[in-house]
């Protein structure tokens, strides 16, 4: 018995859940959250739900005479709900299964990096943390969006001693945002920073500075997709960043169209 009655062991709740016997809303929600992340439990709960339906199917009673007419009259007034989001094609599903674990990791990494880089007052720290949390959520929203597309591209020049770097771009048109991070770029030269750009025909706009993740890569950056943008690129810029790129891009990634 590793759990006491007050503790929450979701597994034992599958029966009560299938029977609609959890009257505590919070407890039911926690169980549903648990199901979302536990395929085995979801499978068990589904089979118990089918079993419970056999109990339900065992009772019949002659419906009252007026019911049919009332129901048929009422549905004339009732608009039907659309189906839930159509299932993604198989390839996409595989992709998403592969990438989902990144959700947690990426947003935590982002938050930690912001905190680590602080060294400022606590009020500011709290604001920064809150900001990081929001950004983390937005990043998670982009990565888990149904229309999320991922592209990676190798860096054009190898970074000092650490092999070729890679840029990773995840973009969701429905979220109107992209997430970019790089691996294996190595640290920028002293007094310089990596800066991310969105490139549209005839126009380049900054998409933010790429903070080092401490392991030769960068922390994910979230950026709103600019109109007409076709590529994102990374350049090395003086500390603080530039208004326009002052060097040739280390890497360029084409933005997926749809």
């Amino acid at each position: 018995m590793k759990r006491r009655e007050g503790g929450f062991d979701p597994h034992t709740l599958a029966g009560a859940y299938a029977l609609d016997a959890i009257d505590d809303e919070g407890e039911r929600r926690r169980f549903e959250r648990h199901l979302a992340g536990c395929a085995e439990c979801a499978q068990e709960t589904a089979t118990l739900g089918e079993t419970v339906a056999r109990l339900g199917a065992a009772v019949v009673a002659e419906p009252p005479p007026g019911l049919r007419e009332r129901v048929l009259a009422e549905i004339e007034q009732v608009r039907q709900l659309p189906p839930t989001v159509p299932p993604a094609p198989l390839a996409r599903r595989v992709w998403r299964v592969t990438w989902r674990p990144w959700l947690a990791a990426v947003s935590v990494t982002a938050a930690l990096a912001v905190v680590a880089g602080l060294g400022v007052t606590t009020v500011q720290a709290r604001q920064e943390l809150e900001q990081a949390r929001r950004v983390g959520q937005q990043i998670a929203a982009v990565l888990s969006a149904d229309d999320a597309r991922a592209v990676t591209a190798p860096a054009a020049v190898s970074s000092a001693g650490s092999g070729r770097g890679r840029g990773m771009l995840v973009l969701s048109r429905s979220q109107g945002a992209l997430v970019f991070w790089a691996a294996g770029l190595g640290d920028p030269p002293a007094g310089r920073v990596y800066q991310l750009w969105q490139l549209a025909p005839g126009r380049i706009t900054s998409a933010g500075l790429l903070a080092s993740s401490g392991s030769g890569g960068t922390v994910p950056v979230l950026s709103t997709i600019r109109a007409d943008a076709e590529q994102v690129g990374v350049t090395v810029e003086p500390a603080g960043g530039s208004r326009q790129p002052s060097s040739t891009p280390l890497l360029l990634v084409d933005m997926p169209v749809a």
Binding site: D23, V52, R54, A57, V59, V60, L67
Partner: protein, 198 residues
């Protein structure tokens, strides 16, 4: 009231849903009224029977059954056959609505009146009379008898009586954790006995 041998719901069929129900429900999801009328014939006695079993009150049950059947029309497009049978989907909605009604009424209901409803052994006995279909009903009865008494009580009091696991624990004078566990292992045993495969 009671089983109707001539109706399609009385068929002896090992599976979960009557034949064609999945397809008809999917047609309903596309706005097919004719399909809804067919679905109604199959579902109404089951929905009304289940709701009546839980609520006991005919007038309330009629209201709730109407809500449920309209809800079937409204959200039929959201029925996903790969996640379970059509009958399970509908009866889940029906049971939840009935339970919602029980819990909403609960706040205003006299505790003593509720306590009077807590009569052990009652649900199972009544249910065994109401079970439809000869083979299917016999099978369910046999499988329910296969459970331990506490498993059977935990499952049937919760499902047919509309009690939460806390209430069931009070009713059968067993610890909460035990009741939760009996609900789960009771349903697992029932599932395996009935041969539910999804």
């Amino acid at each position: 009231m009671g089983a109707r041998d001539r109706s399609p719901v009385g068929e002896d069929r090992p599976g979960g849903s009557p034949p064609g129900l999945e397809e008809s429900l999917q047609a309903v999801g596309k706005g097919d009224r004719g399909a809804f009328e067919r679905v109604y014939e199959v579902l109404a006695p089951r929905v009304f029977g289940l709701v009546l079993r839980v609520l006991r009150d005919r007038a309330h049950s009629e209201e709730v059954a109407q809500e449920v059947l309209v809800e079937v029309w409204r959200s039929a497009a959201r029925f996903e056959p790969d996640k379970g049978s059509a009958l399970a989907w509908v009866l889940t909605i029906a049971h939840r609505r009935a339970i919602d009604r029980v819990r909403a009424a609960q706040a205003g209901t006299d505790r003593e009146e509720r306590a009077a409803r807590l009569e052990p052994h009652r649900f199972f006995d009544e249910v065994s009379e109401l079970v439809v279909g000869r083979l299917e009903g016999e099978r369910l009865r046999r499988c329910l008898n296969n459970l331990t008494e506490l498993q059977r009580e935990s499952v049937t009091f919760a499902y047919y009586g509309g009690y939460s696991y806390r209430e069931v624990a009070e009713l059968v004078k067993a610890p909460l954790g035990t009741v939760k566990t009996r609900m789960r292992d009771g349903l697992i045993r029932l599932r395996d006995c009935l041969g539910v495969d999804r």
